[in-house]
Symmetry: C2
Subunit: 789 residues, 2 copies
């Protein structure tokens, strides 16, 4: 759809808009190059230039161009716009613009208007103690760093959900567009409700080159590109060229058109009540890489080529002509027309920016903590399983959680969503459908279930989209939970890592208000992937998270339904964390009443006296466990040992908050050494049954006094297609191996154990033969109950 | 483009094809359900049925339909076809077909033709000690497990590269198509050379539902879907319906058309010499989920709905009518027409399959080790940096490696490729362009560099595509190396994990021949991402790999160019491993001559006597290092300490093969305890400077006698935008902190150290002030040379 050729901008408007853009470009180049002499009031010398040139110019003029035009649109229609800069290294542009509009100085008063402020603005960029080259948490108006590429569009959609008045302008780099997460993100438009959600305006910025190569999308023939974008469900508009005057008219006109389209779509949905998935507009901006920068350097073309990616002019100390060229480049923006004597942006240009919270740098959506309303949470105790005696009832932990989440959703119908890769029902959280269906804007068939255009459960077979939407949703002040098969959370290792970094940095930025935590529920976990086999078995995500900032990361392994409820309640109230909860979905024995669960979760770990036989005395052995299946196997092992060795003093310790194991110096949740030693002792064997890779427990307890007594059983990579109990046997996490280890480690059992030991070994043989004969687990193992002995 | 309505199949052909399909469907259902009575020669009872029903039916009839039709095409045109089953849980179908064609019994003689073989075939499926539900390494003809979804199309393209006679038929599930890796993979067709590569035929299988939800692509209106697929650069053909007779004709006709298109494309490229990127054909197969299965169960629709995803009939012991329905379902395929008295496929049906290596289960491409030709490698010593004295010269390690890789490529122009996400030049491997350009089938502009339709460097801004292509390339017997920014390799954590599992399992399968290793070069590493900031800093991939099978994983940290050459040469010769090499690209001092490098790499770790001051005596301190920057800082610390404490006995140990640190019991590369103790001692402090997260070194050395003396410095997450040396200071890996730690740990220095210690602290203050004033590192740090003191 080509736009018409009439002019939208008056000559004065055009002149001001172009000047504003020049100002942003000037400030961008200044940040990349200058330490001093910010207004070029004296001839440029090497002393004014940074010794290390680290910025990226290529994408910047396009980002500035879009920003300036969005300013005009915002003023014209009084819009709330969030600006998402997808291309990497976008900080020079976004920082320049938020400085020009006054946001920057409001948030960072030290960097005020005027020459001194400009000098500081320039100096701090990519400078030790300064700011990064990406649109990082330090950048006003940003929820998206753009360091690792590919997440801009999912973040944009996450921000737009339940923000009906918001327009998210998402600039997608053509390099970024090659990444897998971005390629999948285009279909996010199938999950946006025009009635209750805001709009996302993708602006695909085709500037032709990545670091060193042409981009795939920029080189498609027009018809193919157009088919692709229409196939993605968009109505594309094209703004193409390199003559600023013509491009300004085209862009202004196109934005007006796009705005009219969006308004019409929303009117149809909101006023006329039409249920449809509209063809949302989008813009393709085709402009030269490094637009307005040096055209030729050392005889080689730069503007419009990959050579414009980073610093078009380098090695200034060895190439005096480059210094001269830099000066000419900066002066080409005519700074004297843009800034007054004091170095302050001239008032007619300052007037081009919106004011107050309409400035994209001050939109509260981008500082989501400002919008955050705590969830209205029902009392989780109301959903608890009645556990009169430990092990007396059975329940599916996630199914119980589903009833709680159902009511969380009901009470927070515009601020809470559940995300999952086609697994909400598989993960047994389907009670939530009583509160809300699954988001679906397409036509429905009679065979569909629980779909709704207004649905608040977001299901798509992409962990990347689930994670990205949730990140965007929480960064803009709302709450959510992402449930995922444990093994496949590795798909978003990198995303979660980047989000952790964002939160870690955000916590140190005074003006950023805390946002709701990112909550990840890992279920269908390693011990219950016997049927899906090796590809579905991997508990390593916890290890990955342990390398992230202790201030941000929390890991919980609730052993049953009530502890899962309590932990989830806690996570939904928390801020600025990444909470990882690991819990099974299968029917399992329940251990703790609601009161016991509350206390246990508050403590993070504790002695289970009801399961112990040490009667408060020094035990012969500590049997510790973390995770639902390890807890079950530990208790079954305790039963076996109680029968075999009635006098044996066993202390059972369960760990629900993994971070309590660490020293207080390493994690805020760490138990004091005194308390730890009291519980685990310093001199008796500790047989620790752990959900994941055993090594992690050693890592966490490394500095504890009793560490040398610790023997950890966990997942050692012995996975295949088999039965649930056989999975534990293969990895020696089962009751028999645990009991055998106790016999091996407790000195006074080593002599008297031969019979008991042989019985356990016999059971293992019996198990092995039975499983391979029947394909099922031994009945007495499957039906084991606490108290059976 | 709709296909015409003429019939392609004669009545007999149609009848045979349909019968063959019914046989495959019968065997699929049998695998999911039956333990015995495989030919239903007696009435079906519960005793014949598996106690746990674990298979997935939904996708299977479609997979079988495609397989049967490909058989016909292969026979008709004598084709070499590789079958990639993208949908999850595809094993029942692929196993059934490879059994019917005879491949299965050839590879697993115990499962022969006839009733007993059928019984075993059925029983082993998803049964303890049996085979997985995915097209795992156990599955003949498979290079793609399909456990984690999303990689089928990248694997298909990787297999097709440099296999000009191969046709890769890649079935893409419509659930899988929602994943990010698959969404990005469509653009792989821009990197396929019709002249020298084979063809990939994507078959998008729209069966409408995932586990519980409709799929995005299945619900698009035809025009939108068609635009999308044309936008991806394909010519789509549609096969749609549910009447088998009509569908067989449609599919046969469409495959003939598709084959004609591919032949025409290849003729144009190969005979007529036309350089173009053609619109490759693809097929959209729209058929009911669970096609031919139960239509209604318990009054609810099943065929064509999400209820057909797993086992349509469950709970057989509680629902006798389900057992009856199962029997009817199996009998609906009329097994008596398909198998003879002995249970052997009837000859007229057996004749429907191709023979020998034309059978897809026996295509050697799918057992790539059979095709593997060892690389013709030049002697790496010919590329070595001349190092007459340690530290006497400077070089960029990866740039040196680039010259070696250039000649590796020149000598192996059809069996070696280099992969990278737009970073080959950034990672300074650009010497390879002298051997071959970057693959590019689109038109070129004068500003492009090093592009070529015949290029063998694969560059796309997607780690997923690079990794997936390389996996497909090596699994089909060829060699490659993937260079990646260290932080962003986390993007493919999950893929590499799955590939490691594939290799681990493959090693145990007798008929699978070893394939070339997957080689990953991590460069632009954490210590040189000072300019890109926190988002680009993450050395955690090594930790992730340490949880994978020791039989498969290798990690190397060469400290300089010559060791990098030697290690890479070793990796390129290896088989069935995932080799991870971490090496910097910046100019650094060089330490080892080619002879010393060869010995050092062969040993994996060793004492650097030239840097040590212990003269073979018991040292006062061991200073160990792994990684290029840690090595540099360790040697600089040694220099400082030599000056300050001339009598101090320091032993310098460098580790290039990280696995040598582990006990021999845990990794085949592990050093013996005796050798380890000899080198590291058991009783003096060990100050270990490590490239990544410090904890890993503790983990690896945990069982070593000297472990309690070990103090590790590494990356502790202190990242930001700063200078290179400041990165080491922030994480206390720098020379000053290392030297201070030596002073703290060596008993006899603790009393006499006040002056030296104060000097080191002063230098840290001086560094801090200088960096923040100038944005650059202290000249005496930058210019430090070994021997400076």
């Amino acid at each position: 759809m080509s736009t018409t050729s009439r002019s939208t901008l008056s000559p004065t408007e055009l002149q001001h808009l172009d000047a504003y853009w020049r100002a942003a470009n000037y400030l961008s180049v200044g940040q990349i190059y200058l330490l001093a002499n910010p207004l070029l009031r004296e001839p440029l010398t090497l002393a004014h230039v940074k010794p290390r040139l680290l910025g990226h110019w290529g994408t910047t003029p396009g980002l500035n161009f879009i920003y300036a035009h969005l300013n005009r649109l915002i003023r014209e229609h009084d819009l709330s716009v969030l600006y998402v800069a997808g291309p990497g290294h976008g900080a020079p542009g976004v920082v320049a613009n938020t400085y020009l509009e006054g946001s920057y100085s409001e948030l960072y008063p030290d960097i005020g208007p005027g020459e001194d402020g400009l000098r500081k603005l320039f100096r701090q960029f990519s400078f030790p103690g300064g700011i990064p080259s990406h649109a990082a948490p330090q950048t006003p108006g940003s929820i998206h760093e753009g360091g690792e590429l590919g997440f801009s569009l999912t973040h944009a959609y996450g921000a737009a959900l339940d923000h009906p008045e918001l327009l998210v302008a998402c600039v997608i780099g053509d390099g970024e567009a090659e990444t897998a997460p971005l390629a999948a993100s285009w279909h996010s438009n199938k999950f946006l409700n025009p009635r209750t959600d805001g709009a996302v305006l993708p602006i695909l910025h085709l500037n032709g080159y990545k670091i060193a190569n042409p981009t795939v999308l920029a080189r498609l023939e027009h018809a193919e590109l157009d088919a692709l974008l229409r196939g993605y469900g968009h109505t594309p508009y094209y703004v193409e060229g390199d003559d600023p005057a013509l491009m300004h008219q085209q862009m202004a006109r196109t934005l007006e058109q796009v705005y009219a389209d969006i308004a019409a779509i929303q009117r149809r949905a909101r006023v006329e009540g039409v249920q449809e998935r509209p063809a949302w507009p989008m813009i393709v901006l085709r402009s030269p890489k490094g637009w307005t920068g040096p055209k030729v350097v050392d005889g080689l073309p730069v503007e419009g080529t990959w050579r414009a990616h980073q610093v078009p002019l380098a090695g200034l100390s060895d190439h005096p002509e480059h210094l001269h060229q830099l000066e000419d480049w900066l002066l080409s923006y005519r700074p004297e027309e843009l800034f007054d004597e004091a170095g302050v942006l001239r008032p007619e240009l300052a007037a081009q920016a919106p004011s107050g919270e309409r400035r994209m740098g001050m939109n509260p959506v981008a500082n989501g903590g400002l919008l955050r309303r705590d969830l209205d949470l029902p009392d989780w105790r109301g959903y608890a399983v009645a556990v009169l005696e430990p092990g007396s009832v059975e329940a599916e932990a996630t199914r119980v959680l589903g009833t709680f989440l159902r009511d969380v959703m009901k009470r927070n119908m515009t601020t809470f969503r559940l995300f999952g890769p086609d697994e909400t029902a598989s993960n047994r959280l389907d009670a939530v459908y009583a509160a809300s269906g699954k988001t679906w804007q397409e036509p429905q068939l009679p065979t569909d279930q629980h779909l709704s255009p207004d649905g608040r459960v977001m299901e798509v077979l992409s962990e990347h989209l689930c994670e990205g939407w949730l990140e965007g949703y929480t960064l803009t002040g709302r709450h959510g939970l992402f449930s995922c098969y444990e093994a496949f959370i590795h798909v978003v290792d990198s995303m979660v890592g980047q989000h952790s970094k964002w939160l870690e940095t955000s916590r140190e930025i005074a003006w950023r208000s805390p946002v709701p935590s990112l909550n990840i529920l890992l279920t269908s976990h390693v011990w219950r992937q016997d049927h899906n086999g090796s590809s579905h078995q991997d508990p390593g995500f916890i290890d990955l998270m342990m390398n992230k900032a202790p201030a941000v990361v929390r890991v919980y392994l609730p052993p049953d339904a009530n502890t899962l409820l309590c932990v989830t309640d806690h996570c939904l109230r928390s801020r600025d964390y990444v909470n990882v909860i690991v819990a099974g979905k299968q029917p399992e024995r329940q251990w703790l009443s609601e009161a016991d669960a509350a206390k246990h979760c508050a403590d993070g770990l504790g002695i289970w006296a009801w399961a112990s036989t040490d009667r408060g005395e020094t035990p012969d052995v500590v049997m510790a466990c973390a995770g639902d299946v390890p807890t079950l196997e530990t208790l079954a092992a305790v039963s076996l040992l109680r029968s075999a060795f009635p006098g044996l003093k066993i202390r059972v310790v369960n760990v629900v908050d993994l971070m309590t194991l660490q020293p207080q110096s390493e994690h805020p949740h760490g138990l004091s050494d005194a308390a730890f030693d009291e519980i685990f002792t310093t001199d008796v064997p500790i047989i620790f049954a752990y959900h994941g890779y055993p090594w992690l427990i050693h890592r966490l307890t490394y500095r504890r006094a009793g560490h040398q007594n610790l023997h950890v059983h966990g997942y050692t990579g012995q996975g295949t297609t088999t039965t649930p109990f056989d999975m534990t046997v293969l990895n020696e996490l089962d009751r028999f191996h645990l009991a055998l280890d106790v016999i091996r480690r407790v000195p006074h059992l080593q002599d008297v154990n031969s019979d008991a030991k042989q019985q356990l070994l016999n059971k293992l043989d019996e198990h092995h033969a039975y499983v391979r004969a029947t394909g099922d687990d031994l009945p007495d193992v499957k039906n084991w109950r606490w108290g059976d002995g």
